[in-house]
């Protein structure tokens, strides 16, 4: 287990260092998030629909779309100079390769969300200070689930035609349960309802995470081997 995590960290660290040196994907994703939030602001009639009714949807649609953009790069970047073959012949276990990619993806999405949340508060004038801790918890819970599935699928599509488009098409149905759960819990939190009202959805999110993280860890080896 310790060895597994050490190897996973080596992969994640490689990706993070690479990204910190170029910053292209991360900066693009952050700018994209800001742009989408701005556009959403003009795509509604503030006199007709109260901001609070729309806010959870805006937040989650932005997060999931930004996340999908960052997911594409995880394995796409390994295609250059056959870097993926290098990773596969190295003494890494397949599971730790997957976990490494998962950790790196989670870090990217976390940065995007960390920038997106304050912008969302600023643009939509919603008060989150009272519910910040549970809100961050829900974001983490939902993000883990769909990034786990997304990391697996991004490895699956790299050798197909139209990889970017295909990833969106196969991943979106899988976003439904985390998106429903996250939007419902966020709506209740922003409306000042106690967390105990959202137990059902929190259980759904947790179960989704457990099932899909373990499933993806197991299935990953079948997607990368030639």
């Amino acid at each position: 287990m310790a060895e597994l995590l050490r190897q996973a960290w080596a992969v994640a660290r490689k990706d993070l260092v690479l990204e910190l040196r170029t910053r292209t994907a991360l900066v693009s994703a952050v700018v994209f998030t800001a742009l989408v939030l701005t556009l959403f602001n003009f795509g509604r009639d503030p006199t007709a629909v109260p901001t609070l009714d729309l806010a959870p949807t805006v937040l989650w649609v932005t997060f999931t779309f930004a996340a999908m953009l960052t997911l594409n790069r995880a394995f796409q970047l390994e295609l250059e100079n056959q870097a993926l073959e290098g990773l596969l012949v190295s003494p890494l276990s397949r599971t730790s390769l997957y976990w490494g990619k998962l950790i790196a993806n989670l870090a990217f999405v976390a940065v995007v969300e960390a920038v997106g949340l304050p912008l969302f508060v600023l643009f939509f004038n919603v008060s989150v200070s009272r519910v910040l801790l549970p809100l961050v918890g829900v974001i983490a819970l939902a993000t883990l689930g769909f990034v786990a599935v997304g990391t697996l699928f991004s490895a699956l599509v790299i050798r197909t035609r139209f990889a970017e488009l295909l990833l969106l098409v196969i991943l979106l149905p899988f976003l439904l349960p985390p998106l429903i759960g996250a939007v419902q819990v966020t709506a209740r939190l922003l409306a000042g309802r106690p967390l105990s009202e959202s137990v059902g959805y929190l259980k759904l999110l947790a179960a989704y995470d457990i099932v899909f993280v373990s499933l993806a860890s197991f299935l990953f080896r079948f997607t990368v081997d030639e």
């Binding site: 098409v169 196969i170 149905p173 899909f212 997607t223 030639e226």
Partner: protein, 226 residues
């Protein structure tokens, strides 16, 4: 008898039975007190819905066994089952709105149950698109198996979100813990229809399997002749 002919015969028997279901449902089953004649569509809608989900589960199970055994027959079955499942999902998504218009007053509503069937349909489309996007047969089978297994695991989550979401859709009246709660004559018609749809599934899958078999034989022959 060749496989494709056997499939045709099963389909023919299923279609005759289906005609029998129409006759029995329209002429020999009482009209429901509240919904009137619109309720008749239940005899088509529910069996099709059951087989839409069952086909996805069978695709997933075939995927699991394929990854362990590597038997191409399992992959061909999964491919056939997914295509037939797509057809059945189309039946569910067509008959549903036809019933919904007189009963609910709207063709479509963003109810959890309808949304989840629609997403199952998208899941099938994504699965078939992945199959179409990979040239190498071995790789194609492996990718399809991974996606099929994930799809199978998604079905219970979609169901779970159905029960948490408030729903307009009638609750199950046959497959529920307390046992069926409808008149015997309706139950008999329904079971008769379930049998017809089961045979229809078997007939379609057998024919589709024969098509894949012919394709694989051609691909092998082409590979041998270079």
């Amino acid at each position: 008898m060749s496989l494709v002919r056997r499939g045709r015969w099963i389909t023919l028997v299923a279609l005759v039975l289906l005609a029998g279901v129409y006759v029995r449902a329209l002429a020999f089953t009482p009209i429901e007190r509240l919904q009137g004649p619109a309720q008749k569509i239940f005899y088509l809608h529910v069996p099709a819905a059951i087989w839409t989900e069952a086909a996805m589960i069978l695709v997933g199970l075939a995927g699991i066994f394929f990854l362990f055994l590597g038997d191409p027959r399992l992959d061909r079955f999964a491919e056939a089952s997914a295509e037939v499942g797509t057809v059945f999902a189309t039946i569910v998504l067509t008959t549903g709105p036809i019933w919904g218009k007189p009963i609910w007053g709207t063709w479509w509503t963003w109810d959890a149950r309808l949304t989840s069937t629609l997403f199952l349909f998208f899941l099938y489309l994504g699965y078939l698109l992945v199959r179409g996007a990979v040239r190498d047969p071995g790789l194609r089978a492996r990718y399809a198996a991974v996606l099929g297994i994930c799809g199978m695991c998604l079905v219970p989550f979609i169901h779970l979100s159905v029960y948490l979401f408030r729903t307009l859709h009638p609750q199950p009246i046959i497959l529920k813990p307390s046992g069926p709660s409808l008149p015997d004559s309706m139950l008999v018609t329904w079971l008769f229809s379930l049998l017809a749809f089961t045979l229809l599934y078997v007939g379609f899958v057998t024919q589709r399997y024969a098509v894949s078999l012919a394709r694989d034989a051609r691909e092998t022959a082409a590979a041998q002749h270079g």
